[in-house]
Each structure stands twice: as C-alpha cells, then as structure tokens.
Symmetry: C2
DNA sequence: TTGTACGCGTTATCAG
DNA sequence: CTGATAACGCGTACAA
C-alpha cells in the first residue's frame, strides 16, 4: 500500500505538503493540491490510521463490549451505537463476553492494547470496570450500573419499568403474580425486582416466596420453573418475566402444558421478544428506549474523549415504555 | 498509559529486553524476565498494538462489512465470525452498509486506512469489491458472490435450497405457487429464483408471470404485494418468500385478510424469521449453515492473510437444510 | 506557500 | 543473554 512518501515523490513535493492537503487544505496552493490529489487517486493512497494514531495518540476507534450480539436488545443497541459513532468519526470494535468475567477482562485488555479512544461496556463484572478506571480509559457503562463507582453511565429506569408493568397487571385484577427473575447480581435485575415489590406492597399485595423464582436468565431454567409453578395448587394467574430468554422459556412451558395465553395464564415481560410484532398473542412488555440508549452512550463517551479531565460524571436513566398487547386477561 | 520505555527504565534494562520478554521469552534470563514482568504489572503496562502494527505491518484486526446487524441472519453470522476471529488472535471492526453502495465504499475505505489485515464483506456493489481487489487487500466475499471476479468467497448453495423448498411445496400438491423475490440484482436472489424455476419446470409446472413478484426485500412492499395476490381470482395456494423481511410482510398481509396459515394459504421461506421456534404456526423454511458460513469465512481469510500470494482462490458453497414446520397444507 | 528535523512506541538487525 | 540504532508512516514544530 502506497505511503505518503510515494505520493510526495510522484507529485514532486515534500511529504509535508501532501500531509497538509489532508489536514490543512487551506495552507496549500490549490494548484499543487490538485496535483497531489490526482497522484493520491492514481496510487490508491489511503493515509495510515495506524501511523497517524501513533503520533496523535488517538485512534478514532471505540471498543464495544457486550454479552451477546445475537440478543435482539444488544444488536439493536449496537446498531444505534455504530450509526452515531460513525457520525462522530469513530470506527467500532466489537466483541462478545457471554457474561463471562474472564473473557470480559481479556477483551478489555485487548481493546486497551489497541488503544481505543474509549470503551462502551455492558459489564458483567465490577472488576473489568475498575481495571478500566485505574487505566484511566474513557468509559461509559451501559445498562448495568455500579453505583459505588464514579463513572459515566447510561441506563434505563428499570425500577420505573417494573412498577409500570406490575401495576398494569395488578390493575387487571391479578393478585397471584409469579416473577421470573435473575440471581440478583446485576443492577437491572435488582432494580426490576425492587420495582415489582414496591408496586405490590403499594397495592397491599404480599410478595410470596413461592412465586418469586431465580431463573438465571436462561430459557431452559425458566421453562422448568414455569412448568412447575403452573402445575402447583396455588399457581399464579400472571407471570412477570424479567428477560427475553426467560420469556421464551415461559411461553414454551405454557405451550407444553397446553395452557393458552392469555386465557389460562397471563404473561408480561421486560424487553420485546423476537417476532412479537408478527405473532399472536403479542406479549405485553416494557420497551426500553434502545436507540436513545445507544445515541446517548456515544454522545457521552465522545464528550469524555474530547475532555478527559471533565470533572462531572454523567449518569442518566432513560424512561422505558409500557407496550400493551394481548397477553393478559382481566380477572373479574 | 505506560510505554515500553517506562518499563525499561524502571526495571533498569533496555527496551529491547522488555520487548523480548513479550515476544521471545526464551531469549531472556528468567531472572530479569521476572523482574520485568513485575514492573509491567505495577505500571499496568499494555503493549501498544498501534506501534507494533506500524513496524510489523499487521494490525491483528479484520473488518466486517455487512448490511445490517439487526438482521438475525447477520448477527448470528457475525457471532460465529467474532468467535473464530478471536481464536485466531484477531479483533473485529464492524460496520453496517444498509445495502447502500456509497456507504459501503466509504466504510471499505475507512477499514483500509485502519490497515485491517483483511476484510469479510457481504457486498452489495461490485464496485467496492473491485476497489478492494485493486488495493490488494485480503478479502473474502460472503453470501453474495460475483462469479466474474477472482476472489475467495463463502456462500450457501441457494439454488439447491430453493429447489428443495419448491419441490417440497410441489410434493404437497400445490401448483399455483407465488414467489416473493428481489429485483434480481444480488446473487442469492438470482440463484434462488433459478432453483425455483428449475424445480417448477422439472415437475412440468409453468411459472406464470403474475405469480412472480419483485418485493425489493422490503416488508412493506411484500405486504402490499401479497394482499393483492391473495385477493386475485387465481390466487396462489402457496407462497415462497425469498427473505425474512418479505416473509414478515406476507404473514401480516395474510393476517390482515383474516387468512389462516396454513389453512387458507401455505407459506415457505428462505431463512428463519425471528420467533419462529416460539410461535405457531412455525414457518417451513430453508436454514442456512450460519455458523459454518462464519467459521469458514474466517478460516479462509486467515489463510490468505498468512499467505497473501496463494494462487488458488477458495470458493465454497455450503448446503442449506430444509426445516419442515406447520405452515403448509396438503392439496388434495 | 513549502520544506527539515524530530518524535510517537515497537520490533529487527547487528554487535557486544 | 543484552543493548544500541535504525526503521515503520505520519504530524508538528520551526525554518526558509
């Protein structure tokens, strides 16, 4: 691949002049500029970002660390991220952690060695975030917040979403509401549960242990759990699933028992499951402002890249939206 | 961020020795090696890939260019790609083209300037591919093949898939089969249509113009088209949709006319639509070997990176699979 | 308006 | 086994 020297030689000017038509086009006579551009074209010259990065100490890249791009939520989010990043002139490096802390740490290290200008991370472990902070890397946490850490973050108001969803279900007359939650390690999981409990007690309904289940955010576990719950004597009349995978497990469980949604069991969940707009019944769910989550994450990261010493930490919670479909029946 | 010089100074050795513990650990006494490693740890030193890239002329990155990561097919594919790329020691840069040739060209240029070691591209335009070839970049075409170009590629045998699917429908007794295809610009589109036509004529069925429609791979157009087709006097009894978006449009069209799948209209398609494993009726479809498509693309690209002068061009077509669900009725 | 000299962080070469 | 020196391709003073 041609270098700036090749261009300079062929155009019979110094490399500096070539460099200038790239960076300070006004500082070079339009005549030589034209000639140089021609030569660049002929040679198919593309300035080397790697050389440029070395001297400018900026790579114009940002690293994205997430659990799994196959998850609808994450790929939609990434799409918004890539679009805005590109507008700001950044290229995105992407990798998946599968919620594995070791991989997460390794990947973070890899990004560091690539000298990305900043990192957008949907973290699983606090370790990698702390590591990044010690390394003074520009970083924005997405979705999962660690309140004890002084970092920029963008997340959804999961508490609010859970309240909205729970109150909707309660409003329909349900009292025995089953909850499919995670192990309570991640921030969104805890917030959603907090929101659920709040809405319940605010309506004078007791949260019973047997109806609150840890499904590990896994389809298979949710499937078994729901099958068991629905066959119990005091089975819940409605289910609140905290995550798409668990929702899918729940639907399959209901199907396997030949229970109809919403006639036999009502179902609501966080996030939209794939195909929800196509098939019936559509599941009533909490829709996160995914695009905004992406745009804001990039906006905040770019601001920090441009002003690394900025004292103020930005942390925002965006409001989610209740999308009502046909998965709940009214209890009379 | 600490440099190799900082480490060298603090460990009271030359930078060369530090460099060696990273690259030729055997060429340095274990004693000094240990000391140096300690210092690296203390300083949180991460070797700079950008400096390293400059001298080695290798960035250990590969660029992925695709239409849209939100498409299930592409995000699954990318996942397989990222996994294998990482195993080979590469980090992935990812961007979306939305099938826009101008964006595609720009993004390709950006990747070039970042000096990626190779590019995996699901191309829309032949232009960008030619450009890449002229620039002598290592490149593997994925899914969309340009037969006139001497490039490595990995694709599915779309012809074979279309034949299988069409014969299945014909075997069920259908004769009036509607086709929702694209404009015939892209390779898979053309191959699928070729396969369809072959299967039809092999069974002595004429392909009628009115049942072959160009839907531009868009949900909205497919929706309108299918509504129109289904209301015609000699409406098809079965529909073959070439792509997920069009399939969704078709389902919505059938729903809007209160036509049941498969009772009133049978439907088959290429690729699995989101949620197909959850809802009923599941749509009978052609499943591409997505993971293999990803793994092989990386494998071939890596081989070319390691041996850029390799004369032989690798081109492989993987066989797709017919997945039978409940979206077709038998014609008696 | 254009050019010279140096540095960015690493590795390769060649001595010691 | 270890070190000095010269690249790698480009941008930034500072000169001319």
């Amino acid at each position: 691949m041609a270098t700036i020297h090749d261009v300079a030689r062929k155009a019979r000017v110094s490399v500096m002049t070539v460099s200038r038509v790239l960076n300070r086009p006004d500082k070079v006579s339009s005549k030589t500029a034209r000639k140089i551009k021609m030569v660049m074209e002929e040679l198919g010259y593309q300035p080397s970002q790697v050389a440029r990065s070395l001297v400018k100490r900026r790579t114009n890249t940002i690293g994205i660390v997430m659990p799994d791009i196959k998850n609808t939520f994450f790929n939609s989010w990434f799409r918004a991220v890539e679009d805005s990043a590109r507008q700001f002139g950044y290229t995105t490096l992407l990798c998946n952690t599968d919620e594995n802390p070791d991989d997460e740490m390794k990947l973070v290290r890899t990004f560091l060695s690539h000298r990305v200008d900043g990192i957008l991370i949907v973290p699983h472990s606090e370790e990698s975030v702390k590591y990044l902070m010690r390394a003074k890397v520009n970083i924005v946490l997405v979705d999962r917040v660690f309140k004890s850490l002084e970092v920029d973050f963008v997340s959804t108001d999961h508490y609010d979403g859970a309240v909205k969803l729970t109150e909707y279900v309660i409003g329909l007359g349900h009292r025995r509401i089953g909850v499919l939650k995670g192990p309570g390690i991640l921030f969104p999981d805890r917030e959603r549960y907090r929101g659920f409990c709040h809405a319940m007690s605010a309506n004078g309904i007791e949260v019973t242990r047997e109806h609150v289940r840890n499904c590990e955010f896994k389809e298979s576990i949710a499937y078994e759990t729901v099958r068991e719950m629905l066959q119990a004597k005091s089975a819940p009349t409605a289910l609140f699933s905290f995550n798409s995978l668990m929702t899918i497990g729940a639907i399959k469980a209901a199907n396997s028992l030949a229970l109809k949604i919403p006639d036999d069991i009502s179902l609501v969940c966080y996030d939209e499951i794939p195909g929800n707009d196509i098939f019936t019944p559509g599941i009533t769910h909490i829709l996160q402002p995914i695009d905004e989550l992406g745009k804001n994450a990039v906006r905040i990261l770019v601001r920090r890249i441009e002003d690394p010493n900025r004292k103020l930490k930005d942390g925002i919670y965006l409001k989610p939206e209740l999308v009502i479909r046909e998965s709940c029946r009214t209890m009379t």
